[in-house]
């Protein structure tokens, strides 16, 4: 979830550049960044749900082995 904060900080920068210089590249890069962040969140939930199914817990301190 903290990754979303970082993505948002970068997007704020992109949009600020777009609004001060009037070029559209800032907004385009922000749109691409948003879409990639959404795809990454989907992968994250897939991993979390698989972890829950395999190890019966999502506590990362307890998942110590590489074998699934």
């Amino acid at each position: 979830m903290g990754i979303e904060l970082i993505f948002n900080a970068a997007n704020l920068n992109f949009v600020a550049y777009a609004s001060t210089t009037g070029l559209a590249e800032g907004l385009s890069l922000a749109i691409i960044s948003i879409s990639i962040a959404a795809a990454e969140a989907a992968i994250g939930i897939a991993i979390v749900l698989l972890l829950d199914k395999l190890f019966k817990t999502v506590d990362v301190d307890k998942i110590k082995e590489l074998k699934g």
């Binding site: 948002n8 777009a18 609004s19 009037g22 385009s28 749109i31 795809a39």
Partner: protein
């Protein structure tokens, strides 16, 4: 002038929500505070004269990514409400608050010399479409190819596994 005051209020709300998000012990409340952060960032986008991006942020981030997080949080088993890291962190709430306040003061000081903290140039959606699909079309093609390949791969994987379990469509498979 009122616009600037409103913008600073949004910035303050963002910082306070971020502090709350980092500090809170309950994970669903953390997701709720992340939602507030995303909404405040969308408002900041609106103040920077691009409602297009504010709405895209709301639809994609606040409407879909938070839903994904909530599904992940609510569908998994969690033993204790906090992990050890969070217990350590929660004793230092004041540090986060002070840091956020300092950041806010820095923002205020940095924008003291400007006439307005916001740039007011407007970029129309047509311009964004031009820059996205004409100049950055390589990135769009690459993303489309990736998404297409992963969708076809997902459909193939699901179809391959479908032979191993029965699909209970309408009460029983066809192999009865």
């Amino acid at each position: 002038m009122f616009v600037d005051v409103a913008y600073y209020i949004i910035v303050l709300a963002t910082l306070l929500s971020v502090v709350g998000f980092v500090v809170t012990k309950d994970i669903v409340r953390a997701a709720g505070l992340l939602l507030v952060v995303l909404a405040c960032v969308a408002a900041a986008f609106a103040f920077m004269n691009s409602l297009l991006l504010a709405m895209i942020q709301l639809m994609v981030y606040a409407g879909a990514v938070i839903v994904i997080f909530l599904f992940g949080v609510m569908l998994t088993r969690r033993e204790a409400p906090t992990s050890r890291l969070r217990q350590l962190v929660s004793h230092e709430n004041l540090t986060y608050l002070v840091f956020a306040a300092l950041l806010f003061l820095l923002i205020l000081r940095a924008s003291a010399g400007l006439t307005s903290p916001l740039g007011y140039l407007y970029v129309s959606p047509q311009l964004v479409a031009t820059s996205l699909y004409v100049e950055l079309r390589g990135v769009v093609y690459a993303l489309a190819a990736l998404i297409g390949a992963s969708s076809i791969g997902a459909i193939y994987v699901v179809r391959r596994e479908k032979k191993h379990f029965d699909t209970t469509q309408g009460g029983g498979g066809e192999k009865r």
